[in-house]
């Protein structure tokens, strides 16, 4: 599930514990406002552009539900599974663009051709499960200037990719960026998601008010006040990701470059997901979205990654 494997600093755990003592009360509006302020500062935008929710997947649903009415919904395939699900559930006209191996790149030319009708376009950047960056700034400008398009960019892995379009929402009212504290901040169990949205979305969401649980709220505030540990999480994860990439490459597996905290591999081992599962290593089965042989591997701790390499070698050996 692409969580960060490292445990949280003590101050964040204590903050969450303070929340536990007040579980009989809803979160305080003043404290929610404080979190929005910290997220606005972190994202480099004014407070009013920030929406809060319990997890970025819920925010995506909240956006897809109202904005798919009367619009074509365009996504890529493969993509973040809850997005695929929500689109299937809410949208009536669905179109996705197949990202083809080995490059998995998105053709701007094709995309622009498809945007001639009112469209809600949802792109994960970097893409999950390929780890590929699909968008660059000039592409976002081209799309966001298009009068008929609402563009939602899922930046769940922003801290790893270090690329964001959040600062563009003030200039592009039809742009929304979705983020989460589940990943780099290591708060997957707290479920704090947020969106940085342009004016066109704000109008619909003016009454949108999501309460967080008190432990989640306090943990998130504490994490944003002292984000050094997050940077360390990111640094270690990227170092491990690159080490694992080289090791898998040396074992003859095809490994794709990644801008996230996971790797996409194409393995020659038949039924690789199950074989690894039997050896006690769980990797993500994405066979419903990509050809056989592809698997997504989350980056763990150094020890976990070592185990993975050993078991992968074992799986290679036993399949001959």
């Amino acid at each position: 599930m692409n969580e960060v494997p490292y445990s949280l600093p003590q101050n964040i755990i204590e903050a969450a514990q303070r929340g536990l003592g007040k579980l009989n009360r809803y979160a305080d509006p003043g404290e929610l406002k404080r979190l929005r302020g910290l997220l606005a500062e972190y994202s480099g935008v004014p407070d009013r552009h920030i929406l809060l929710s319990q997890g970025s997947d819920l925010l995506l649903r909240e956006l897809i539900c109202p904005f798919s009415k009367g619009r074509n919904v365009v996504t890529v395939s493969p993509s973040f599974f809850p997005t695929v699900e929500a689109v299937k559930q809410f949208a009536t006209e669905r179109l996705s663009i197949r990202l083809s191996p080995p490059m998995f790149d998105l053709s701007l030319e094709l995309l622009m051709d498809m945007l001639e009708v009112p469209t809600l376009l949802i792109l994960d950047n970097p893409n999950n499960p390929t780890g590929k960056m699909l968008l660059e700034r000039r592409m976002v400008e081209a799309i966001a200037e298009h009068g008929k398009v609402l563009l939602v960019v899922d930046e769940a892995y922003y801290e790893f990719s270090k690329t964001t379009f959040a600062d563009m929402v003030a200039d592009y009212p039809r742009l929304a960026v979705i983020r989460t504290m589940d990943k780099a901040f290591g708060l997957a169990g707290a479920r704090v998601g947020y969106a940085i949205v342009g004016e066109a979305f704000l109008n619909v969401f003016s009454s949108f008010y999501s309460l967080l649980s008190r432990p989640s709220l306090y943990a998130a505030i504490e994490a944003l006040k002292h984000p050094e540990y997050m940077k360390e999480n990111v640094r270690r994860t990227i170092a491990e990701r690159e080490r694992l990439r080289r090791a898998l490459h040396d074992l003859g597996s095809c490994v794709y470059p990644s801008s996230a905290n996971f790797l996409l591999i194409k393995s020659e081992i038949p039924d690789v997901v199950r074989r690894l599962g039997e050896l006690g290593v769980l990797v993500s089965d994405i066979s419903s979205q990509l050809p056989l042989g592809f698997a997504r591997v989350s980056i763990g701790t150094r020890g976990e990654n070592d185990t993975f390499i050993v078991q992968y070698r074992e799986a290679c050996r036993t399949c001959d």
């Binding site: 599930m1 395939s77 493969p78 599974f81 809850p82 695929v84 699900e85 299937k88 559930q89 009536t92 006209e93 669905r94 179109l95 996705s96 663009i97 197949r98 083809s100 191996p101 053709s107 094709l110 498809m114 038949p270 039924d271 997901v273 199950r274 599962g277 993500s284 089965d285 994405i286 066979s287 419903s288 979205q289 990509l290 050809p291 056989l292």
Partner: protein, 475 residues
């Protein structure tokens, strides 16, 4: 009628009970989940299950000599004693190999045929790309070792429901030698000479169906699949264990182990789906050209695997039948009465015709206009004549599973000339999401570079109701 809720099970049961009270002796409930019960025909005398129904169309018949095996009540119905006669014949066969302690167990065991192609896959290690016809002799001269033993053993080893099956095996190297050491009851079917051939596979497959096999397992490659298809078509479902050089037909399980899982699922009783058998021209393949044609369909047990609970197992997952229905609904809704539609080969296209109430050929190109069939199993000439008659015309095709060909050299009727006349924008591609997701891209190889180039770029594939996927075409 999708706006109405399903009829409650209770109502169905009531209806059955009323029927029974009024004197209907063999009434049962259909189209409800198996675990809900009531789908079986029971003996009017003692309530013993006489015909057990499982999945879509799976049937186990316990009637013996027109009578209930328990209380002896006479059971009416055509062919009710067929199975009993069959079992009797088998008991008289000298080759019956039931271990003594297993004899006399009830007939709940599923009878499963097993045929191993001993020369499949031998070309791989010596770079021959296939062993059709006499190539396996050349392979052996080059020092190739058979690969089927490993696949066969691995398959048999991983069957968990060994208690629920009885094997009908081909003799010697074609099956028997692998099951001798196992604790599975088996019967040997047919005879073979020193050298085995494709004819052996075909003859024995037919014999197995006649002998009452409910499922046929074969170990081999695309060539073996074609032989099995020729022999038995879709008379009984199959499980295909891969052991070939390069396997393209989607009828094959991913691995020998996955094939074993399909057998287990079959024993438990599940649904079925059709999968492709491809005709790969090995001659062309040796020249690094991939020329494939849809040869036919075999029926396989449909195992739905949910490895990651919660996330991937969800409403998006549908059976292949449901997906095809959804695609057909979309295509039929979008059809224009003034346009001539040329429907290519495949079950997805057949589902579209079925939806319109038309009897389409499964492997041929048929023409439809204003809701009527205007031509069946057309060749290039037939298509060109029709193209001359209609101003607006479209082609509907589905990619071949695994390699993604929409127009290959094998799809004869859609020649470069036909495709040129139709034009790129009048090509409708359809395919289930499952199948299309497993492709790297769509492929064309029409034999005319100009046409291939005209087709390259992105094409929209209809994968569901109002749902499209833009996929790149490579040539």
């Amino acid at each position: 009628m999708t706006d109405r809720p399903p009829t409650p099970l209770e109502t169905l049961r009531q209806a059955r009970d009323i029927g029974r009270e009024e004197g209907l002796r063999y009434i049962y409930i259909g189209n409800v989940p198996e675990e809900e019960g009531g789908q079986d025909t029971v003996c009017p005398g003692c309530d013993r299950v006489l015909i057990h129904r499982h999945g879509f169309g799976g049937i186990t018949n316990y009637v013996q000599e027109d009578h209930c095996p328990d209380c002896g009540t006479s059971i009416a119905g055509v062919g009710m004693n067929e199975r009993a006669r069959r079992s009797k014949q088998q008991e008289n066969r000298p080759l019956l190999q039931d271990p003594p302690e297993r004899r006399g167990r009830d007939v709940m065991e599923k009878e499963i045929g097993l045929i191993v192609n001993p020369v499949a896959g031998m070309g791989g290690s010596v770079g021959l790309k296939g062993t059709d016809e006499d190539m396996h002799k050349k392979a052996r001269e080059l020092g190739a070792r058979p690969v089927t033993p490993k696949s066969t053993k691995e398959f048999l080893e991983h069957i968990e429901r060994k208690d629920g099956i009885k094997l009908l095996v081909a003799p010697g190297v074609m099956g028997e030698q692998y099951v001798r050491a196992l604790d599975i009851p088996f019967v040997v079917i047919g005879e073979i000479g020193k050298e085995t051939s494709a004819e052996d596979t075909r003859r024995i497959a037919r014999r197995m169906v006649e002998s009452g096999a409910e499922l046929l397992v074969f170990v081999g490659g695309d060539g073996t699949a074609r032989d099995v298809y020729d022999a038995i078509g879709s008379r009984i479902p199959v499980v295909a264990v891969p052991a070939g050089v390069k396997i393209f037909s989607s009828v094959f399980a991913v691995t020998a182990r996955a094939a074993a899982e399909m057998v287990d699922a079959f024993v438990e009783g599940i649904g079925f789906k059709e999968e492709e058998v491809l005709d790969i021209d090995e001659e062309a393949f040796r020249e690094d050209r991939l020329a494939s044609r849809l040869y036919g369909y075999l029926v396989v047990p449909e195992v739905r695997r949910f490895l990651q609970p919660g996330k991937e197992a969800s409403s998006v997952s549908r059976s292949s039948v449901e997906s095809k229905e959804e695609i057909a609904a979309h295509v039929v809704e979008e059809m224009d009465p003034e346009t001539l539609y040329l429907l290519g080969p495949g079950t997805t296209l057949k589902t579209i015709a079925d939806k319109m109430g038309l009897a389409k050929t499964l492997l041929g190109v048929d023409a439809v206009h204003a809701g009527e069939l205007r031509g069946r199993d057309l060749n290039e000439k037939g298509i060109l004549i029709l193209l001359g008659k209609y101003e607006k015309r479209k082609v509907v095709v589905t990619p071949i599973g695994g390699n993604g060909f929409i127009f290959g050299r094998g799809s004869k009727p859609f020649t470069p000339e036909v495709i040129k006349k139709i034009g790129r924008k009048n090509i409708i591609v359809v395919g289930t999401r499952d199948k299309v997701s497993r492709l790297d891209c769509l492929r064309v190889d029409t034999g005319d570079i100009g046409v291939d180039e005209m087709l390259s770029g992105y094409l929209k594939v209809t994968v569901g109701y109002r749902e499209g996927l833009m996929v790149k075409v490579r040539c």
